[in-house]
Each structure stands twice: as structure tokens, then as C-alpha cells.
């Protein structure tokens, strides 16, 4: 009976959601459809329904993509970004995870004050400290190095807080049992704590990946060598080049968007859980 009552509401909701998603997806569909076209075709299809329909499959279907991948360094930029993201995911989990564990489970003086400080740091926008980070990296002589790029990005108050919120609910007796099983604290962290907290590890990984993938400002400050550039900077340099066609621009944007869409599609549950767990009740 309850289900019957809900049915019309569900249908209305589904229709509304479908229309809304179409509305939001219009630019994406347009981008995807036109990324396979020549500039002439794009102009010709403009203001018609065809603007949302990809061209017929023929020999030149992937020309824009092939040009971008062969004539520019965009593939390298993407590989660079994936590499940075992988390193930052691993280091981020280790460093922020250990910090989160300490704040959740180890008793030390002023622990709660530290948590408060970290929570306060969460509201400081990255842009406000980017100058300090830049000066710091420059003084250390790390400009235009991978290390210089990665170093200030490892520690994330948000991720520390996320880890802490999840670790706080881990049962203490598992650690006690592990001690009697001759498990060292570090081994416990890697073989017990992280596997028991797969969701938060996935959440932090996703957030880190998206952060690195979408970041423009910090890599543009640190990197001057084109060998080390990231995808977002590559996108900017390719799209601002006068020789790049509209179709090629859309192909680059499509390529840079696809990983983000895949990540959201695969890990939407973790992203939601991550956000929920930061707001979860303490203890």
C-alpha cells in the first residue's frame, strides 16, 4: 500500500530528474558531438538539432583527437597529471591517514585543540596560502620540480579530518587483539586500519584525484618546463593557440572531462559517504 502511494511521486520525480539531467547535459552532449566535426561542419550545424548529433562514422571521424594526441604534448600532460595524482593519492593516504589516526586514537596533550585547528584550516581557501607556498618552494629551490609541486599538496586538513572521523569509530579491541598477535603499530595501520576503512580511502583517493586533475593555479606557478606540465595547463595552452580549430578544442575538453565523469560515475557512493562522514556525529 505504501509502495502504491509512492509510485506516482516516483514517476514525477523520475521525469523531473530526466529533464534536469538533460538540461545539465546539453553542453556536454554538444561538446561531445562537435568534437568529432570540422570547423566548417560545426558552423554549418550551429542553431540546428544537428549540433547535438555526432557526424557519421568515416575515416576522418577521430581526426581532431588524433591531431591533438600526435601534434601536441597533451597526452604527456595527461600522463604527467595521472602520475602526480597517483603519487599524491599514496602520500596523501599515508600522511593524512596517519595524522587522522593519531587525532582519533592516540592520546596526547591538546589533541582536541589540534582537531579544532585542523577544522579551522579547512575553511582557509588554498588561494590565500598559495603565495606562501610558492615562496616556500622557491626558497627551497624546488621550482619546476615534481617534488616542489607535490610537497605543499600532500597535507590536506580536509582529508585529515575525513580520516579522523572514520578512524574514531574503529573498535579499540581490534588494536589490542592485533598487539597480542605481534602486530606493530605501523603494520596495524597499513594491514588493519586502512583495509577496515576502504570507503574513506576511496573517498580521499577520489577527492585527491579530482583536485590534482582540475588544478590549474598551483602547477602553473610551479612549473615552467613544458615536460612537467599538467593537463589543465596543456588545455589552456592548446586552446589559446591560434592554430587550434574549434573541433580540436572540443576534443581536448572532452578528453580532460572524461576521467572526471568516469570517476564520478564509479565512485559517486564514496564521494557522498565522504561528505556525509565529515558531518557525522563524533564518537
Amino acid at each position: 500500500m505504501h509502495a502504491k502511494k509512492q509510485k506516482p511521486a516516483n514517476i514525477i520525480l523520475a521525469v523531473v530528474m530526466f529533464l534536469l539531467s538533460l538540461f545539465f547535459l546539453f553542453p556536454v552532449i554538444w561538446m561531445l558531438a562537435n568534437s568529432f566535426k570540422t570547423d566548417a561542419a560545426i558552423t554549418a550545424d550551429m542553431n540546428t538539432v544537428k549540433a547535438f548529433i555526432p557526424p557519421a562514422l568515416n575515416g576522418s571521424f577521430l581526426d581532431n583527437y588524433i591531431t591533438i594526441l600526435t601534434d601536441t604534448d597533451f597526452l604527456r600532460y595527461m600522463v604527467n597529471t595521472l602520475f602526480y595524482a597517483a603519487i599524491l593519492i599514496i602520500l596523501g593516504i599515508v600522511v593524512n591517514g596517519l595524522a587522522g589516526y593519531a587525532l582519533a586514537k592516540i592520546n596526547f596533550p591538546f589533541r582536541e585543540r589540534w582537531v579544532l585547528i585542523i577544522m579551522m584550516l579547512m575553511i582557509v581557501p588554498t588561494e590565500t596560502i598559495i603565495t606562501i607556498n610558492f615562496l616556500f618552494v622557491a626558497k627551497m629551490g624546488l621550482l619546476n620540480t615534481i617534488f616542489g609541486y607535490i610537497l605543499p599538496m600532500i597535507v590536506s586538513p580536509f582529508n585529515i579530518f575525513l580520516f579522523r572521523q572514520v578512524f574514531i569509530s574503529l573498535p579499540d579491541d581490534v588494536w589490542e587483539a592485533a598487539q597480542l598477535d605481534f602486530c606493530s603499530p605501523i603494520k596495524y595501520f597499513f594491514t588493519m586500519v586502512l583495509p577496515m576503512s576502504k570507503t574513506v580511502v576511496a573517498t580521499v583517493s577520489v577527492f585527491t584525484f579530482l583536485g590534482v586533475w582540475n588544478d590549474y593555479l598551483w602547477p602553473s606557478l610551479v612549473f615552467t618546463s613544458s615536460d612537467l606540465l599538467t593537463a589543465q595547463i596543456g588545455l589552456n595552452s592548446i586552446t589559446s593557440n591560434d592554430n587550434t580549430t574549434m573541433g580540436q578544442t572540443l576534443a581536448v575538453i572532452t578528453m580532460i572531462t572524461i576521467p572526471v565523469i568516469i570517476i564520478y560515475a564509479l565512485f559517486s557512493k564514496q564521494i557522498v559517504e565522504g561528505v556525509v562522514s565529515t558531518g557525522s556525529k563524533e564518537g
Partner: protein, 364 residues
Amino acid sequence: MSFIELKHIDKIYPGAEKKSVSDFNLEIEQGEFIAFVGPSGCGKSTTLRMIAGFEEITAGELYIDGKKMNDTLPRDRGIAMVFQNYALYPHMTVEKNISYGLKNMKVPAAEIKKKVDWAIDILGLSEYRYRKPKNLSGGQRQRVALGRAIVKDQKVFLMDEPLSNLDAKLRVSMRNEISKLHRTLGSTTIYVTHDQVEAMTMADRIVVMRDGVVQQVGKPMELYEHPTNKFVAGFIGSPQMNFYPVTVQGNLVRFETGETITLPDLILAKLNGREGQMTLGIRGEDIKLDEQSLSLYEKDKQTAVVENTEIMGNENNLYFTFGGQLTVARVSKYEVCQIGDKIEFAFTPSRVHFFDKDTEVCYV
């Protein structure tokens, strides 16, 4: 020297005014099964955790196998522990949970397999070998926890209320399994429980605690028959011992509501001339309703009206008010009474206990 010795152990938590455990002294022999019992917050788990090394010992000394262990890491104390909430590793299978400690101890793989096979076999976990804890029932999880403890060949087993999360039926069967395991392995076991039935049925000796202080240490029947104070008398035994404020004058005991009973010479000798206000205690099974007993204690016969009955199957518990106190009598299943029935009963005079009104120390 005993196998485990606790000497004047104190525990005070930082910021607390009162000791959680106070002057705890105990000697445990190798192979003994000791149960710590007491109500919640009496310090029994704290004491166990101090033995395990998870709680710091504020004062006093702990010796295991002749070595002082106060500052030794838990893993180096030669102990294995079974936790109340099982504390299994949720992402590992039954087999991996059991073998994890052995792997960390760098035991050769063939030896690990042999030990894990043995544990899985004696605990009846064969068909769950590759399951993860979330796919096991409470009883199966507790068996895995036991398996994890027994494979390591440790000298001492510590069990912290291991059966409290199980249902009544499973608790009885696990009780038997733990007892059987203890007999098979011959390991020294310290078992914490708030359930006096568990302690009575499993332990060689019981330590009764209250507010961090040991009330009595003894064999189960010693505690049952000869409690040192009113607390132990009330805590051990189910249903609880009946208590009445009384006045003793010569061989006559007068209840607050005016009824009297006569004490036999045996009890008078134990009272050793003590008279005046005291607390009388008698167990439910020592209150008799049968004809033979009533004729035997004819002049001390009492009457009451049954207020409630509990039919246990093998016996009945009858509740009525006597001497101003709610009283329970354990009678045979053939002595059927209904609520509202007027009954005649008599105390078995040789089975009464007397406690000091103020200090609650047991005289008899």
C-alpha cells in the same frame, strides 16, 4: 612462587578520585581456571586489562611465570585474549584471522597450517574457513576468537566476558566448549564475567569483586556455602539469597514483623554469643514447604500468601512477603502453587546465615 601473582595492585584513572581497583592480591596456579565476577564497574575487566598490559598498573606488582610484568608490552607477556566483542579482523577470513598472529611470530608455514587446521577442527569451523567475520553468527565469531587465542600456545588465556553477546542457549554450549578446551589444553585461564552462573559452572576458583575491592576468593561451593559477607552471599546463587533484618536473643530470632524461629545449637555455637540486630540470610532452596520438613520444624512453621510463581520446569520459584521482605522459595516441581494460595513453610534452621547489620560480615 605461583604462576601468576598480583601483589597489592591498584588502579587509579587520571583525574579520578577513587581507585578503580584497590589492593588486589591473588595467586594463580598453573592450569587453574579463575573467574572474576562482580557487578558492572566493580573493576574486574580493569584488573584483567592490567594483567594483559592494556591498562597501566598504578601501584603494585604483577608476576607471570616468575617475571615482573608491570612494564612489559602486552605481546611479550605470554598471553592470549578473547574479547567481549570478538575483535576479529573484519577484512580477513576465518583462516587468516587465526593464522595472523602465527605469521607475525614468523612460525614456518607448514607449522602454521598444522596449527590452524587443528584449531579449525576442534572448534568445528571447517565449513566457515574461508568466510569473513560478517558472514558468521555470534557463536561462530566467538569460536574464531578462541581459535586465534589457542593457536599461539601462550601460557595464559584471558577472557573478557566472551559470552555476553550470545543468546542464552548458545551461551550454555559455548560455556561447555570453553571448559572442554581448558581441560584439553591445560592452560591457565582468567575469565571475567558478570554472570555468576558462568563463574560457578566453569571456574576452579572465583574472585568476587565489588567497587574495585576483592570480596572473597574461593572455590564455587565455598562461596556458595560460606560467603564472607552479605554482598557475596547475595551475588552468588540464583535466585538471590533472601535477607531479613532480625533481632537475635538467645536462641530466638525475631523478624521485624514479629514472627520468630528457633536456632539450633550448631548455629548458636557459630554465633558465639553474639546477640542483637543482625541480617539473617537464607537461600531459596532452604525454605521448605514439604510435609516432612513442616512436621520436623513444626514450632517454627510460618505462613504467607503466594504473590508470584516462576515455573522453571525442573523446579518452581514461589514469591511471597515474609518478615517485611519479598522472599523467594525454590521448591520441587511437584509442589505446585497458584498466586493467592496461602502456604505454610519453614526455614531449615541449620542453613541460615547471619550478617553484621553494619559491616555486613558473615558470622555464620
